[in-house]
Amino acid sequence: MNRATAERVEPRGPALSRGTWRAGLPARAAFLLLPPVAVGLAGVLLIQLVISRFEISGVVIPKPTDVFAVMRSDIFLEQVGQSTWETWKATLIGFALGAGTGVLLGLLMAESRIVRFVLYPYVVAFQSLPKIALAPVCALWLGFGLTMKFSFAAMLAFFPAVVATLAALAAVPETRLEMAAAFHASRRQRLLRISLPSAVPGIVSGLEISMAFALIGAIVGEFVAPSAGGLGQLLLSYSESINVAAEFSVLVVLMLLGVAQNKILFGVLRAGTERFFESSR
């Protein structure tokens, strides 16, 4: 009994427990962060030196020090704080909607040949459509606010989730399914205890792409909607006033946001799949 309870605490999940987010001590994390940070700093330093040496105009490429100065100014921090939240809100809602329906649809298509046969062509057709072309119609239907932004995010997040789920479920080893059948597993048991756990690593990589795409979708939405706010509009307004250093500052913030949300996604997924593996056994 003791062993059983002690062992329940262990993290579970196939590829999830491997490499990517193995829990480590802060010191270990700092040690692992050192090389990429060092390379990044060296790159920034190199750019700084090249710009100074060849006297390149700040309108073409701003000096990293100028970008840094902008990023430290109170007015920028104030503007960017509000905008980042607006963009991220749209990204999250869009990701939840798009990836959620995507995973669900992938599941349905994997389980039912008829659903797959009927719907898959439309999924592909929808994906081939450049989403930006939908901007005028979307603006007409949804206005220029949050709804339009998260709709764009959802549209971009949808496809990677569908394809990854479908592929991951199709790749479940045949022997595992046969084993489950031999032990008289019901269809539901097979799906919950064999197929889904086997597919988790594949679905997770799909979600990772979906989340990055959702951010792109939100920015696209902000670009086309003059009153949408967010980092997209902030970028445009800096561009109009030819404040290139501030533009680059927004780009840096966008990158940081992308990395941060990726980390958060994995943290949430790890907790979620652990619970799932606990309940599915």
Binding site: P14, A182, F183, P197, R281
Partner: protein, 267 residues
């Protein structure tokens, strides 16, 4: 009636794998099993041996309810087989353990499919693991085990829900000879101590003779029963037994029949 009840009863079993396509690319129908009659009595250990591709696995899958035979009847404990049954435990060529579960929870898999896992189930599995030489490995993941250990876990899993009938499809096929011998001795002990009825598919003659109360020899495809050899040994089988002339003699008889079957159909 129960005294005469057979664990397994196959009558006129025939199975044809349907071909597909037309013209030059067509895949023809393959008759895997032609006509197999076989009964397994409770408590027996029956091995089915035969040349490669003679439909041994097909026979086992028909018993397990994983495959509906083209013709003939399959009965398990007197009832016609219509699909997988709860009271059958099965271990296949590939151990197929679930990588996200530890040894204990892999073994409990069939138990939890059929209801809540009780403490007595855990105790039974602990006992099985101990008998299989896996005590202390309950919390290990499959990744951390050797191939032989994984197969032993698969056999424990097959026995976990306390089935009346154990079906084994070449469970030691991928192991080296030394490990395999040890596994056979272990399996014999588990079989004796649990009192199960077992059917083993194998292409190892020594393995079949060492483990079985009866060895059923199938012909080349399409498989039929050529002969049934009854090794005249007590239920407890040891490594020493394998060194005796009697053991070699029985193996020789099985081997002769196997080759005769081979040539008889091929020539």
């Amino acid at each position: 009636m129960t005294t005469t009840e057979h664990a397994v009863e196959l009558a006129g079993l025939r199975h044809v794998f349907a071909g597909r396509g037309r013209g030059r690319r067509a895949v023809r129908d393959v008759e895997a099993v032609a006509n197999v009659d076989l009964t397994v009595r409770p408590g027996e250990f029956v091995s089915i041996v035969g040349p490669s591709g003679c439909g041994k696995s097909t026979v086992l899958k028909a018993i397990a309810g994983l495959l509906r035979p083209t013709a003939g009847t399959v009965r398990v404990w007197g009832e016609p087989v219509t699909g997988p049954r709860r009271d059958i435990g099965i271990a296949l060529q590939d151990a197929t353990l679930l990588p996200w579960r530890d040894v204990m929870f892999n073994c409990l898999f069939p138990v939890e499919l059929h209801g809540k896992v009780a403490d007595e189930d855990r105790e039974r599995v602990s006992g099985l693991l101990e008998r299989a030489g896996l005590a202390g490995f309950e919390s290990r993941r499959p990744k951390e085990l050797s191939g032989g250990m994984r197969q032993r876990v698969a056999i424990c899993r097959a026995l976990a829900d306390d089935p009346r009938l154990l079906l084994l499809d070449e469970p030691f096929g991928a192991l080296d000879a030394l490990t395999r011998e040890q596994m056979n001795i272990d399996l014999n002990r588990v079989w004796r101590e649990t009192g199960k009825t077992a059917v083993l598919i194998t292409h190892g003659i020594e393995e079949a003779v060492l483990l079985s109360t009866r060895v059923v020899i199938l012909s080349e495809r399409p498989g039929t029963v050529v002969e049934v050899v009854t090794p005249p040994f007590p239920r407890e089988r040891t490594k020493e037994l394998m060194a005796t002339p009697e053991f070699a003699e029985v193996c020789g008889r099985v081997r002769d029949r196997l080759f005769a079957a081979d040539v008889g159909v091929g020539g």
